[in-house]
């Protein structure tokens, strides 16, 4: 290329794979959405599953309450998958699935759906996310402990390399690390360390000569923030490190296997609830980070919608994001040139800086014994970075237009409709899906399902089994087992797990004026209460997005409170029992998945049943029109992404506890007590 005197490519590049991360409610509704999106010029599918599907529960499970069909589509069995893909030729489609703990299961359902269509699994193309370490670190949809989770991943990779050769069995995700606050250097280092852990695990499962192909099938899923020059440098650094890793650690020779392949969803963390139209500019700039330089350009892109911080996007909102990609790919000249940063002193300098930082951080992870062992270390490092970021925004050192600067605004016509410019999933969907999965169970050949699950259990029980877990998994999918049954069979063998919360290790914040003042306030309150103000931070439901809860927990500690935080996935009854036993003065709940309408009243109900009268505050992605509903249920205050100043939230909470002081927070006399808040 460099020999060519022309600054242009002789032939423009083909566009990247253009996708929209989509899915909600039922398989049928999502199928209609996919077919419309394909008609609009989308070139691949990206399936969003609901949280019960992602964490291995059927719609009728107690833990699924309020979550069915919310953040994605509910898929319980092969029938659902067939409906989801109806009329879409699977041998030709390229399907990406954001699925992790249950990735092996969803891939099995996809393979069976393809079989039904007459397509061979060898033809299937697509990606399963399947990156469990980042679920422990950031996203929270894990189901099994680390060791068996890594075994499932390794088995799946070993299986696909052999039988589904065009499939990307794993997408190492640095995406969610940035969402959890990672700096670019942390994003690179932790993603690479994660990849090493996976490759080392697979190395034990495949013949030595296979590792070259395995390496070539590993792809990445990255994030891009609005500092798009730096973000582009990050991707160049990643591709250099990846190639180096392939050559040096795994002896990969073939250049095509050494290529750093990545898909991308640009940053959601930086999208604001305040003046949400500004998010469109942010998304465009972030898309540039992953497309500008040819040497580190994304293979597949999906863009978030402008209104993600408000609630779930509607098809029209997603179309807007799809059109951004199409303008970039088909109107601009971005695909007509060789790498435009080649020889750039600035870019090379940035890349060198990041490489140095990332190598140092990778060495720290290696010292901890590798990525699996280093999960608690990485988690607390992320919580720290995120806290730093929030402090920068609170202090105005980091400008967020419309949020902490230039906040004057006209009334937005975009959010003027009755729903506030978002998608509201019909609450009837949950009941329908419960009914549907029960009908499915009653109509299938139960003996065949029992036998399939029994042989899955047998293979799972022996940690050194030579049989690949994918084989009995596909058999169970074929027999008609459900997502919940598959996961339960494995949970029974593998046991359950709670990921580290990362908050305990976070260092104390230096007290600036505001925080010191708050500490004085807390200390005065302590004198009045007789003991230190105590807060329970709870995350009810299946939502694993714990950044908000973690930051509230750390800041409450830094304000001088005693904090009980037990991590994600608590039932309303668990939260109520903790509040009672711990004698807390206030309860803070965080939900981002849209299930607050069901879960918050359920928690309050459970609290009052225990006789706990402490006030409840709620934070999360709560649409304006739901605030009144929550207040009616007994919530004292609601905080949404526009309330970015956590110290101010703390001050409110301290005031709230102070207002109730003098009255016992908990009377401890059980259900007979008068539970008025």
């Amino acid at each position: 290329m460099s020999d060519d005197p022309s600054p242009r490519l002789s032939e423009p590049d083909r566009p990247w794979m253009i996708r929209t991360y989509a899915g909600h409610s039922t398989a049928r509704a999502s199928n209609e959405l996919y077919r419309r999106n394909l008609e609009k010029g989308q070139t691949g599918l990206s399936v969003a599953f609901d949280l019960p599907t992602q964490t291995g529960y059927d719609p009728d499970d107690e833990l699924a309450r309020g979550e069915v069909g919310k953040v994605g589509v509910s898929i319980s069995h092969r029938g659902d998958m067939a409906t989801l893909m109806h009329g879409i030729p699977l041998a030709e489609m390229n399907t990406s699935m954001t699925i992790n703990a249950t990735a092996a299961w969803l891939l099995a359902l996809y393979i069976v759906a393809a079989e039904d269509e007459g397509a061979d699994q060898r033809e299937l193309q697509g990606t399963t996310q399947n990156d469990i370490l980042k679920e422990f670190l950031a996203r929270g949809t894990y189901a099994f402990p680390p060791a068996p989770s890594m075994r499932l991943i390794a088995d799946m990779i070993a299986y696909t390399v052999e039988h589904v050769p065009k499939w990307n069995p794993i997408n190492i995700c640095s995406y969610h690390l940035q969402e959890a606050g990672a700096t670019p250097v942390q994003e690179i280092a932790y993603a690479m360390s994660d990849a090493i852990a996976v490759l080392d695990a697979v190395r034990e499962k495949v013949p030595a000569e296979r590792i070259e192909q395995v390496f070539g099938r590993i792809s990445f899923f990255v994030n891009a923030g609005v500092r798009f020059i730096e973000e582009h440098a990050k991707l160049r650094a990643m591709s250099i490190l990846w190639e180096e890793l392939g050559r040096e650690r795994y002896g990969v020779r073939e250049p095509r296997h050494l290529r750093f392949r990545y898909g991308v969803q640009v940053n959601s963390l930086g999208l604001t609830e305040a003046q949400p139209e500004n998010n469109v500019q942010r998304i465009v700039l972030e898309a540039l980070a992953v497309t500008l330089g040819r040497d580190a350009r994304a293979r597949a892109i999906q863009l978030p919608a402008w209104n993600e911080a408000l609630g779930l996007p509607r098809p029209w909102d997603q179309q807007w994001s799809l059109r951004i990609q199409q303008v970039l790919a088909y109107e601009t000249d971005i695909l007509e040139y060789p790498d435009i940063f080649e020889g750039s002193r600035v870019m090379d300098g940035l890349v060198a800086e990041m490489l140095e930082g990332a190598r140092a951080e990778m060495a720290v992870v290696a010292e901890h014994g590798g990525a699996v062992e280093a999960v608690p270390y990485m988690k607390s490092a992320l919580v720290e970075s995120h806290r730093e970021r929030i402090r920068r925004i609170e202090s105005g050192r980091q400008v967020v237009v419309g949020q902490n600067r230039f906040t004057e605004s006209e009334v937005s016509p975009l959010t003027a409709d009755a729903e506030g410019g978002i998608l509201v999933v019909d609450p009837a969907v949950e009941a329908e899906q419960i009914e549907a999965v029960r009908r499915w169970r009653s109509e299938r050949d139960q003996a065949a399902v029992d036998a399939a699950l029994a042989s899955l259990t047998d293979v799972a029980r022996d940690p050194r089994s030579s049989e690949n877990l994918m084989v009995p998994t596909i058999a169970a999918a074929r027999a008609g087992a459900t997502t919940g049954e598959w996961a339960r069979a494995l949970r029974d063998v593998f046991g359950s797990y709670r990921a580290p919360t990362g908050v305990g290790e976070a260092a104390a914040a230096p007290a600036d004026g505001e925080l010191s003042e708050l500490r004085m306030e807390v200390s005065r309150l302590q004198e009045r209460l007789g003991r230190r103000p105590k807060i329970l931070v709870g995350k009810p439901g299946l939502d694993g997005h714990s950044n908000g809860a973690e930051q509230i927990a750390v800041r409450a500690r830094d304000s001088g409170m005693d904090v009980v935080y037990e991590g994600i996935r608590m039932t309303p009854e668990q939260i109520a029992a903790s509040a009672l036993q711990e004698g807390v003065h206030v309860i803070g709940l965080s939900i981002l998945s849209g299930s607050h309408r069901e879960l918050i009243p359920a928690v309050i109900d459970a609290l009052r049943k225990e006789g706990v009268t402490a006030p409840v505050v709620v934070g999360g992605i709560i649409p304006e029109q739901d605030v009144a509903l929550l207040q009616k249920a007994g919530v004292a205050a609601v905080y949404t992404p526009k309330d970015f100043d956590i110290t101010r939230i703390m001050r409110d909470i301290v005031e709230l506890v102070g207002a109730g002081a003098g009255r016992a927070a908990i009377n401890g006399r059980g259900p007979s007590a008068n539970g008025s808040a």
């Binding site: 046991g495 709670r498 919360t501 908050v503 305990g504 976070a506 104390a508 914040a509 007290a511 500490r519 807390v522 200390s523 009045r528 209460l529 007789g530 003991r531 230190r532 927990a553 750390v554 409450a556 500690r557 830094d558 304000s559 001088g560 409170m561 005693d562 904090v563 009980v564 935080y565 037990e566 991590g567 039932t571 009854e573 668990q574 029992a577 903790s578 009672l580 036993q581 711990e582 004698g583 003098g662 009255r663 016992a664 927070a665 908990i666 009377n667 401890g668 006399r669 059980g670």
Partner: protein, 317 residues
């Protein structure tokens, strides 16, 4: 408005476990009114009022961070609950020196059935005031021992001088993990308590656990405590050694003069609390530590710590 201490005490005496959370709120509180009610609560549960020592087995579990205390407690909880014994765990977390606040993490680390009404877990911060919260924890352990079959006080037991677990526990369990030289050093230097039962966790790491067992046993012998049982357990499924541990704890309790140990503990606690409140100067006004101990020794054995503290304060004039 203060809770009714006497009523809460009476409910605990009747082994009403649902009284425990409110009792703990009261015992932790430092307002004058609450302290008065706390004393009434404890008076209801004094050996005099109970007609003997509180029946619960108070077990102190201590060991350095990462030794596997929470996992061990999860397994112990299962074993005790299988025997229908009710269990309260008081988990004491270190607190931030800078802000005074604490992230109380043990509740998240201990695995238990949240619907089980026979289990209570309460997290507390060690607190920055020496003796301040430790005093509340002691009182809580005494009070809960009236209602629960087992009361565990869990501390991060290295160099945490303010939590003198011997002042509260019938049985002290020190937990160490294989390959950690620190625990040995702490034992030898006397920084940590002399255990009644010593547990080496992670017994699934066979070779290293066996070596640690040998070293720890040798250390115990050199301290003249060769009779202390040293047990290897694996608290993760498949667990091992748990039955033996439960048995060793029961045996220690059975061989113990509980009344004498608790009497000693209550008197020591009263003296600790006195020094926290009135300092060395207060102690001198009583004629020194020895004189104070003699004064305490002359008191009715059935008195609770607050009553003993009152005796000392009266003598101070």
């Amino acid at each position: 408005m203060s809770a009714d201490g006497a009523a809460l005490g009476a409910r605990l005496r009747d082994r009403d476990l649902t009284a425990a959370p409110a009792a703990l709120n009261l015992l932790e509180s430092r307002t004058a009114a609450d302290r008065e009610q706390s004393a009434k609560l404890l008076a209801e549960l004094s050996p005099a009022a109970l007609g003997g020592e509180a029946p619960g087995h108070v077990i102190g579990v201590t060991g350095p961070p990462g030794a596997g205390k929470s996992t061990l407690l999860s397994a112990l909880l299962r074993a005790w609950r299988a025997q229908q014994r009710s269990v309260a765990i008081l988990a004491v977390d270190p607190s931030s020196r800078r802000s005074g606040g604490s992230l109380l993490g043990d509740r998240a680390r201990i695995e238990f059935d949240p619907a089980d009404r026979g289990i209570l877990i309460r997290s507390t911060a060690a607190g920055e005031r020496l003796g301040g919260l430790a005093s509340a924890t002691r009182a809580a352990a005494h009070a809960l021992a009236a209602a629960f079959d087992v009361v565990v006080v869990e501390t991060v037991g290295v160099g945490q001088g303010e939590t003198e677990i011997a002042d509260v526990a019938d049985t002290i369990v020190v937990v160490v993990q294989p390959g950690s030289g620190d625990a040995l050093q702490f034992l030898k230097s006397g920084i940590t308590e002399i255990p009644d039962v010593l547990v080496v966790t992670k017994a699934d790491l066979v070779a290293i656990a066996t070596r640690t067992m040998r070293e720890v046993s040798a250390a115990m012998r050199s301290l003249g405590s060769g009779a202390t049982p040293v047990l290897a357990v694996s608290s993760l499924p498949p667990t091992s050694g748990m039955d033996e541990l439960v048995q060793a704890l029961d045996e220690h309790r059975a061989g113990l003069d509980v009344a004498a140990r608790r009497l000693r503990a209550r008197r020591a606690a009263a003296l600790t609390d006195f020094v926290v409140e009135h300092g060395e100067r207060g102690l001198r006004s009583l004629g020194g530590r020895r004189a104070a101990e003699t004064l305490l020794g002359a008191q009715e054995p059935g008195l609770q710590t607050p009553a003993l503290l009152a005796v000392l304060e009266q003598a101070m004039g």
